[in-house]
């Protein structure tokens, strides 16, 4: 028992340290680490719970720390791509640190919502899921059409959605090693990095002394997040970006509220994907897949244990994340933006060379081209989620 607790604590700390690394380095996705852990787990089945703890701790740390490069470099992941524009707006005013702190605050505020949603998920979701399951393909079509028609130029939005969708379909049909890595890195990461190279080289000093808006400023984001996230988080292909978008459609949000909302939804969505793996055996994230495989059959005791890990990680990383952000902003204030961007591009390409194969590299080039095309068309990045949504729709309808 004592050994097991020690192993779990060690896994929690190791998960946090690895999550800091993966969160700071653009292009490294949680799914990649989860799949590596699963390969390790094949030989060490006795370590199932510590390995699941490691993955959960890593995932939440990654979500938190990921907001730092997203804000400062404008390199988003598929979870937080919608917060790039409001965050960049604040970076231009020297308020990048404030944007990061607001995202962290959103993640911290997700704890009570996770605790409240969890019993609802466990008690009611298994009873209603068979009804919901039959409407999933239609809901996916409806939500995609809604997002396309909300675009200023919906024809451009539809073109980008279809191009990303075709690319996603081809990627999933071809035998590509770690196929999600080049696809998502190109669509959201590399394309944003290349697009940011055309920006002004002038360093915008980021203020480190900030006064966050009062908590009541963010209260209006809580209710839509509490309603929409549990409803959408088990839908395949629908990520935190879509959920944040739908929440902001219910109640209009300013830049700071939207960043807060995005942090809140990303964390809540991840936690609920793990709860859904327990309650309906449906896995909607790499983390949930890894946890379900490691802990099969998944017990309530183990789920509660993982939720404690999730809360502990959020609280600890909220404070550690602030220190990391402060340190990095000091460097950011002295190093030219284009130099950082160039180094990041080289690093991201190197990661893909190491982790994927030649076809994966073609996917990386194609996804980067689609992302840049969307940027030049002035289409919102949410349309790029067609890469996951269109293949899911094809799967359901064919």
């Amino acid at each position: 028992m004592l050994l097991e607790i020690s192993l779990i604590i060690a896994a929690l700390i190791a998960g946090m340290l690895t999550g800091i690394f993966t969160g700071l380095l653009p292009g490294i996705h949680i799914n990649l680490i989860a799949s590596l852990v699963l390969i390790f787990a094949l030989q060490h089945t006795v370590l199932s719970l510590p390995l699941a703890t490691f993955i959960v701790s890593l995932s939440f740390t990654h979500i938190i720390i990921d907001f730092i490069p997203t804000t400062l470099l404008g390199v988003p992941s598929e979870e937080n791509f919608l917060s790039v524009i409001p965050a960049h707006h604040l970076v231009k005013k020297g308020e990048g640190y404030e944007a990061i702190r607001i995202a962290f605050l959103g993640i911290l505020f997700s704890i009570p919502l996770i605790v409240l949603s969890m019993p609802l998920y466990i008690l009611f979701l298994p009873k209603v899921y068979h009804v919901i399951e039959s409407v999933i393909p239609y809901a996916l079509v409806a939500s995609s059409l809604y997002v396309i028609f909300r675009e200023k130029d919906f024809v451009a939005g539809a073109i980008v959605f279809m191009l990303a969708g075709i690319l996603g379909y081809l990627t999933f049909q071809l035998p590509i090693k770690e196929s999600l890595l080049p696809l998502l890195t190109g669509l959201f990461g590399l394309s944003s990095l290349f697009s940011s190279l055309e920006q002004d080289e002038k360093i915008i000093k980021q203020k480190l002394k900030v006064k966050l808006p009062p908590n009541k400023h963010f209260i209006r984001s809580l209710l839509p997040a509490f309603i929409i996230t549990p409803l959408c988080s088990f839908f395949p292909g629908i990520g935190s970006g879509h959920i944040s978008f739908f929440c902001s459609e219910i109640k209009e949000q300013d830049s700071k509220q939207f960043i807060f909302l995005n942090g809140l939804v990303a964390s809540m969505n991840m936690a609920l994907s793990i709860v859904a793996a327990y309650s309906i055996s449906r896995t909607r994230s790499g983390t949930a897949v890894a946890v379900e495989v490691l802990l099969y059959p998944f017990s309530l005791k183990e789920l509660l244990m993982l939720m404690i890990v999730c809360i502990a990680t959020i609280v600890v990383m909220y404070y550690i994340g602030k220190c990391i952000a402060t340190t990095l902003i000091r460097f950011y204030n002295i190093i030219p933006h284009q130099k950082i961007t160039f180094i990041t591009i080289v690093f991201v390409i190197l990661i893909n060379v190491l982790m994927t194969d030649s076809l994966g590299f073609i996917v990386l080039a194609a996804s980067t081209a689609v992302g840049i095309f969307a940027h030049f068309l002035g289409v919102r990045k949410i349309q790029l989620m067609g890469a996951l949504l269109l293949p899911t729709m094809i799967y359901y309808f064919m």
Binding site: L174, P175, V370, F376
Partner: protein
């Protein structure tokens, strides 16, 4: 901006065409025994499904000792099927992940 738009569009069309070509020209290996399975290869298995099991996460069955898994929950008729998919390896061994299941004419 127009130059960037045109270049990125041409580039993505060329690369998408190449990926489509790769998909359609991919060799499809017909396998009939467990020993012939190589991880990640694109295979075609034909025969009568046995030990069909449905669960919340899909369907599983065997054709000549080869385990087939598909995510979609679809009822199978009592007839010979053609399965096209990829060979995968997981915790419980090696199996074919079905991409397409059709009935043999």
């Amino acid at each position: 901006m127009h130059k960037g738009l045109a270049v990125s569009f041409i580039l993505c069309m060329v690369l998408l065409t190449y990926l489509s070509y790769c998909l359609f020209s991919m060799p499809l290996q017909h396998v009939s025994k467990m020993e012939n399975l190589t991880v990640n290869s694109h295979v075609r298995v034909e025969g009568m499904p046995t030990n069909v099991r449905y669960s919340s996460d899909g369907i599983r069955f065997y054709i000549q000792g080869i385990q087939i898994r598909a995510d979609a929950v679809k009822s199978l008729k009592n007839a010979s099927v053609i399965v096209e998919g990829y060979v995968s390896r997981y915790k419980n061994g090696i199996w074919v992940q079905a991409l397409k299941i059709s009935y043999a004419s």
